[in-house]
Amino acid sequence: MSDAKTPLPAEALNHLDALYNLARWLARDPTEAEDLVQETYLRAIRAAHQFQPGTNLRAWLFQILRNTFFTRYKRKGREPEVMDPEVLDRMSTLEGPTGVENRLAGPQDGTAGLDLTAALKRLPEAYRSVVLLADVEDFSMGEIARIMDCPVGTVKSRLFRARAILKELLRDYAS
């Protein structure tokens, strides 16, 4: 077994809390989050020989986590999100709130004034992940692009729009 010769660096364990935190925001419940993280580490152990020492182990693990998330949902035949990020990207522009933002944040469905957790959960996954990776994990735009396998420009515009939606959702939330 060739991969057994390259163990996963021990420091991979230092990122467990951060990976689990993102998993909790991605998965539907804590048990699913645990399964997701466990599978992430199993994959990382198996693929340890592909990791290049000196490169960003943390970003690599997050990339595996997110890929694992999508694979699991695909396997189960479930859509992780009601809104496809590609559709979101096409419908929105950087110029300001559009139909998508209004649909997500509009006051007509009584969503204004949500607390932060509820507001974050309401974001489409592609937006929520960008916000969490940027603001909680403090990844650079380039790292997030690698984790999410999309261009840096897309990350920037998703982050911009996610913040616009959050601001709207949270407008009555005490600052």
Binding site: M1, A4, K5, P7, L8, A10, A12, L13, L16, D17, L19, Y20, N21, R24, P30, A33, E34, V37, Q38, Y41, L42, I45, A48, T93, L94, E95, G96, L116, T117, L120, V131, L132, A134, D135, V136, D138, S140, M141, G153, K156, S157, L159, F160, R163, A164, L166, K167, L170, S175
Partner: protein
């Protein structure tokens, strides 16, 4: 610079990730565009709010143990661990953890400092690891019967003793020998298969080091980490008490309080 380009850079500007020239151009644009100035403000506000208030979910200890065990097993090149992890996550987690610690203990005792507390700690950790291996998957005995049996085997009084609760079970009471002294050892197991061992022995001849005291409510036991395990040492009544655990520091402190207060 146009609005669209400026807005792509607002987040990086707030995070200090822009090159000086670009940052200057974005600032110049924001200075004369009320809409982009508002957007910049919003970026900073939402980011600050998320950083301050978004809930963080720490990984459950049981998950940590399983992953730790899988990594240790992988590092040792053990075969078939993936299948084992899937079919028996708790058992394999404890087993591989115990094996890893045992190896550390063997290595650690060779260069361990010669002071009595270090020797005591090394021996106690080795015992603890052995107990954890032995207790795995054993049926839980009846705590009162266990305590009664042990009472007849040592020549000092150790009661009252913590007999477990909804989170942790007393799974064994054993006679031990630490640095030539007869000790009573109580082994507890939590729902995640992690073990804690409490050693009790007559306090005569045991000095609790004055340094590395861990404040836990009103108590200040001596704390150290030996071979990756947290260890607490203190005196109560006429006993020297040594607690060793697979738990993390905070959980260990909670366990200490249960034991200390039961006495």
């Amino acid at each position: 610079m146009e609005c669209a380009e400026a807005r792509e850079h607002l987040s990086d500007l707030n995070r200090g990730h822009l090159e000086a020239g670009t940052a200057e151009a974005v600032r110049a644009h924001v200075g004369q565009c009320a809409s982009c100035a508002a957007a910049l403000q919003r970026e900073a506000e939402v980011r600050a709010l998320i950083q301050a208030r978004a809930p963080r979910y720490p990984a459950p200890p049981a998950l940590r143990s399983r992953i730790q065990a899988a990594m240790a097993q992988d590092a040792f090149g053990g075969p078939g661990w993936r299948a084992l992890l899937r079919s028996h996550p708790w058992t394999v987690g404890s087993l591989a953890g115990a094996i890893a610690v045992l190896l550390l203990v063997w290595g650690g005792t060779l260069w361990m400092a010669r002071d009595p507390v270090s020797r005591l700690a090394a021996q106690a950790v080795a015992e603890h690891v052995e107990y954890a291996k032995e207790m795995m998957n054993r049926p839980i005995p009846d705590p009162p019967a266990l305590v009664k049996e042990l009472r007849s085997q040592v020549d000092f009084s150790f009661e009252p003793i913590f007999r477990g609760d909804s989170q942790v079970q007393l799974v064994a009471g054993l006679v031990s020998d630490l640095l030539g002294k007869r000790a009573a050892a109580f082994v507890y197991r939590d729902g995640s298969g992690r073990y804690t061992t409490l050693f009790l022995m007559p306090e005569a001849g045991t000095t609790i080091p004055a340094e590395n005291r861990m404040p836990i409510e009103t108590f200040k036991p001596h704390h150290r980490v030996t071979s990756g395990r947290h260890l607490l040492l203190w005196k109560q009544r006429d006993l020297a008490c040594l607690l060793i655990s697979d738990l993390d520091e905070a959980e260990m402190a909670a366990m200490f309080l249960k034991i200390r207060k039961a006495a």
